[in-house]
Symmetry: C2
Subunit: 124 residues, 2 copies
DNA sequence: GTACTCACTTGGAAAGTCCAACCTATTGGC
DNA sequence: GCCAATAGGTTGGACTTTCCAAGTGAGTAC
């Protein structure tokens, strides 16, 4: 199933082909604060339905912006994290945040999952 | 008919409520180069259908990002131009262009329509 | 084995988008 | 005045995407 593309030779159009669909950039914004589990993303993004969340994560993974990693211990869990290429979207998110309102918070302090992620290390 | 909103207290979500729909940011990108007529926008954005273009221009106008102005002479024409608030989206477009590809061109030189626009002056 | 959480998938309705055709008003040529 | 062309849309219907609620299967927890 081919996704709908702007199909233009233009950097902006190509960027929007990758992250222009509904919820994509909000998922990236969540992940800029650190890795998150599927259920956490679902809780932190009020309004996103589970099927769309699963679809977007697969698309972002397919574009090399998000990595999926299964943590064995201490808790059996799947976490999603941005790749380097995904983190490079930070200026886009920041520009949107500046335009969209007065306040842009710094990345939040570490939480348990993130702690574990960096303890365990990045995926190979 | 209420448009679909992310309905979140988050600057990024609010920005995407305004310009997150399909084609919106590409229209803004075109207008960053200067005012354009409806038919020019349609020609410069391959793939956009006339009804969506009309809908988006109305939405952007309703959000105060685009102004519609009727030029009386020399040619009877309607042009669309960004408001100050719309121009403030330039950093967003720039960030997307940087992320999306190697080259981001500077705003193109003036053309006839733009010349006339600035000769005539901004809308009251 | 029963209950519970996590990470999804499925089915169907609603909303959004695409496409081609049509419409109205104005201009330009003759 | 008449005809055709252009600008700036609107309309109807097909198609695609998103939403929503419900269900599934795998892995602990007890």
């Amino acid at each position: 199933m081919p996704r709908r593309s702007y199909d233009q030779y233009c950097a902006v159009a190509r960027a929007l082909d990758a992250v222009g669909e509904r919820w994509s950039l909000l998922i990236v914004r969540e992940l800029l604060d650190g890795p998150r589990r599927y259920t956490d993303l679902h809780a932190d993004l009020p309004g996103v339905s589970t099927d769309i969340l699963a679809t977007r994560l697969k698309q972002l993974e397919g574009e090399g912006l998000v990595e999926r990693r299964r943590l064995e211990r201490p808790a059996n869990a799947t976490v999603y994290a941005l790749t380097d290429r995904g983190v490079e979207l930070r200026p886009v998110i920041a520009a949107l945040a500046v335009w969209g309102g007065p306040e842009l918070g710094e990345p939040r302090p570490t939480d348990a999952v993130r702690e574990h992620w960096y303890t365990v290390g990045a995926p190979e």
